[in-house]
């Protein structure tokens, strides 16, 4: 079976029919929230907890990724699974990072046979690309994951929630102490809907002032020495790029946003934490300052640069699903209008009014983009898993202006293709592509093209950009993937937008 973008969909999955098609006719299904009756919640060790619940073969365990590449909790649970020789476990971490390398052995030994996640890179991604995971990997979006959990589609037996500070009843937050990571937005649907909820903390106190994690949902608390490595908790890139090509892309992006009339009072804006994204934020900041613009909000993962803009009065509010650096954590603690949002409030397509739907402008990246503006952020052009949607598809769908920024040519490879290796975000949600060699506007957005008439920006069609890139790189020999399905890319509505394949022998 093929979906509306012509991609194969394995049996048992719903094919993607368009960004809006299914959502429009979908009713929000909410399974009942699961609260607790436990009163004596503090358990001595994870091992005791496994015995108490008990955690057995075939269960589904979930995790959040707020500790990013410093996370210790998933690995602690894996160690227990290994020790107990549990089999056929399903894991549902909101993201998997290189630090989760110990999972490789458990996949190969079929202790873990099924995984749901929104983002994956490092050795676990490599292992799955090579075909070791027994059942297809399911790649969700940040908004799609809470949709799947709240509807009962993804049933979680036990949610392990790393919490930097917790009291003895389970009220907790991420703002204090050694493992402070800030807002805990990705954990909220797990907290509300998993059958059992376990807080794992390294800082147990008598009272917490701001409880993002509420005691009424928490069944058990396990205190460990350290839930993570603080060095890995802060996101890698939190400085604007100095790379001249990326700086040019950032400047052109800001100019484009300006010429399209979005730098105006009430602007709502989202960008990531990469060097180019931060450089775009700085350029937007300059223009907002010059024009004395007051924006309404910035959202998503929050960086020190967005905090700076908020504190200068350029954005009235920050909606924070996760903090990317310690300045963002400090701001979340002290600034009353730096507000937490759950992943559901952020991007769940069935929320009444998710934050993404109120975005004016979002700046996103791409590992590949094709002439239909479909974007790949899940695999590289050889089919290796290197990321995933995260909030890509959710924000691209919701924002009034979705801009993809990427070098046209990277490592002698064109980032614009006739057809992307994997579709993560459909072209219908993508409005503009900014590269160092020109800007392409999606022809579906005639309104934008009209507005840019007479612009001095270097506007080209995406086909012209592809031709320019090909002139430099030549035409690469297409890689034939193997036929073995290793996973699916699930759009935010639960339909399958693309399928992931094992790398063939000659590619490996």
């Amino acid at each position: 079976m093929k979906n509306s973008l012509g991609r194969f969909v394995p049996e048992g999955f719903i094919p993607f029919k368009g960004a809006d098609t299914l959502i429009k006719n979908m009713k929000r299904v909410l399974v009942p929230e699961v609260t607790t009756r436990e009163t004596d919640k503090v358990i001595r060790t994870l091992s005791d907890l496994f015995d108490l619940i008990p955690i057995t073969d075939g269960m589904t365990l979930s995790f959040h990724h707020h500790l990013r590449n410093g996370d210790g909790v998933l690995n602690m649970v894996l160690s227990e699974i290994k020790k107990r020789k549990l089999k056929n476990m399903t894991l549902a971490p909101s993201a998997i990072f290189p630090i989760h390398g110990p999972l490789v052995e458990l996949i190969k030994n079929q202790n873990v046979t099924s995984i749901y996640t929104n983002y994956i890179n490092g050795p676990v991604a490599d292992c799955i690309t090579q075909g070791y995971l027994k059942y297809p990997l399911v790649m969700d979006t940040h908004g799609g994951r809470p949709r799947a959990i709240e509807s009962g589609e993804l049933k979680i037996d036990v949610a392990f929630i790393a919490v930097p500070t917790s009291d003895h009843l389970g009220n907790g937050n991420g703002i204090d102490e050694l493992s402070a990571c800030g807002a805990l937005g990705y954990a909220i649907s797990d907290l509300q809907y998993a059958k059992k909820k376990v807080v794992v903390t390294d800082h147990l106190v008598d009272h917490v002032s701001l409880a993002e994690i509420e005691e009424r949902y928490v069944d058990y608390i396990v205190k460990v020495n350290q839930i993570g490595d603080a060095k890995g908790i802060v996101s890698g890139t939190t400085k604007p790029t100095r790379d001249p090509v990326q700086l040019k892309i950032a400047k052109d992006t800001a100019q484009l946003i300006d010429e399209l009339g979005f730098i105006k009072d009430g602007l709502s804006f989202q960008t990531g934490a990469g060097g180019t994204s931060i450089a775009v934020a700085l350029e937007v900041q300059k223009r907002m300052t010059e024009k004395k613009i007051k924006g309404s909000f910035a959202s998503g993962g929050i960086t020190s640069f967005l905090v700076e803009m908020h504190e200068k009065g350029l954005f009235e509010k920050l909606y924070d699903v996760q903090c990317f650096d310690l300045d963002a954590v400090k701001s979340y603690k002290k600034n009353p209008k730096h507000l937490p949002m759950s992943a559901s409030e952020y991007g769940n397509p069935l929320e009444v009014n998710p934050i993404v739907n109120n975005l004016d402008v979002v700046i996103l990246g791409a590992t590949e983009i094709d002439t239909k503006f479909n974007v790949n952020v899940t695999t590289d052009s050889s089919g290796n898993l290197i990321g995933g949607s995260g909030g890509h598809s959710d924000t691209a769908y919701g924002a009034k202006l979705t801009i993809i920024t990427t070098n046209l040519v990277k490592s002698r490879t064109s980032m614009v293709k006739d057809s992307v290796t994997t579709i993560t975000t459909p072209g219908e949600s993508v409005d503009c592509l900014v590269t160092e060699r020109g800007i392409a506007i999606n022809p579906q957005r005639q309104d934008l093209l009209d507005r840019l008439k007479g612009s001095k920006l270097h506007l080209l069609t995406i086909e012209e950009l592809l031709a320019k890139a090909t002139e430099i790189t030549g035409v690469p020999t297409p890689l034939e993937p193997s036929n073995r399905v290793i996973g699916v890319v699930r759009y935010r509505d639960g339909s399958i937008i693309d399928t992931l394949y094992q790398k063939s022998e000659e590619q490996s």
Binding site: R242, P244, V245, K248, V409, E436, R437, I472
Partner: protein
């Protein structure tokens, strides 16, 4: 890096075969550049090659290989009137033997005290289309330290400007070497513009925007030039001999300057 040479909106790009290339890599660099230029088409960009000193063992071989219709200008280090003339004659021969369509220009680098003193003779050589002040080597020759205010280069800058303008050539200022200091670059460029330089070499792509901004006519300058040109047209049509703009008497040099500025603005797409 080579493949991105044409994306930064500079007027030209200088491929350096001299100081940026280690002695052991000279042959490879010429070969790489030659192949790159053959395979890559640049649009609206002056292609400049900084060759090795003319009396070095490399220059003749590299000239043989690199001079073609793919390039526009050669930049000559440690220029003197004598070696600039010699290069011009070598180019005469090469262009003839290679049956080239283009006439290659020369930008001599004025980076010796003796070159500053003969800047006028150097500027007069056939093919020279600009003079570049080489501040670092000149400071070494003068036995002075480079400073932020550039006082040590004041006279040299002035003489280069005078020689260039006397022959209607570009007066190109020495690069600002602190690549992370945007404010310093802005000050240095503004100063160079004020004393008559009309271009500046960048040593990092991140400098191009600032230099372009400083050396491009500003909106105010363009508006004023437009007023002057319009006032001149009005005066001519009404038979007035003298006229004022914003209370200032306008004479021929001001009109010429305004027209030049509007030409420049037109060429750079600023109108």
């Amino acid at each position: 890096m080579l493949q991105n040479a044409d994306i930064f909106q500079s007027d030209g790009v200088i491929f350096d075969l001299e100081d940026a290339v280690m002695l052991s890599e000279k042959d490879a660099a010429v070969h790489l550049l030659d192949n790159f230029l053959k395979s890559y088409a640049f649009e609206n960009l002056e292609i400049v090659i900084r060759i090795n000193q003319l009396d070095s063992e490399f220059s003749r071989v590299e000239l043989e290989q690199i001079v073609s219709d793919k390039i526009d200008t050669l930049m000559l280090p440690k220029a003197t009137a004598k070696n600039t003339n010699a290069l011009s004659k070598m180019l005469d021969k090469l262009e003839k033997s290679k049956k080239m369509n283009k006439k290659i220009g020369i930008i001599p680098i004025i980076e010796l005290a003796s070159s500053v003193l003969e800047a006028k003779e150097i500027a007069s050589v056939n093919r020279v289309n600009g003079l570049l002040l080489g501040g670092e080597d000149l400071s070494t020759d003068l036995e002075v330290e480079r400073t932020e205010d550039g006082l040590e280069l004041l006279l040299a800058r002035g003489l280069v400007v005078l020689a260039a303008k006397a022959y209607k050539l570009d007066a190109i200022d020495t690069p600002y070497t602190k690549t992370n200091d945007e404010e310093g670059l802005n000050k240095d460029s503004s100063y160079a513009k004020k004393i008559g330089m009309n271009a500046k070499v960048c040593i990092h792509p991140n400098q191009i925007d600032t230099v372009n901004t400083v050396f491009s006519p500003s909106i105010q300058e363009i508006e004023y030039a437009r007023k002057v040109v319009k006032a001149e047209a009005d005066a001519l049509s009404t038979g007035k001999g003298a006229f004022t703009v914003d209370g200032k008497m306008i004479d021929k040099p001001i009109i010429d300057r305004a027209k030049k500025l509007l030409d420049k603005a037109q060429r750079w797409g600023l109108l």
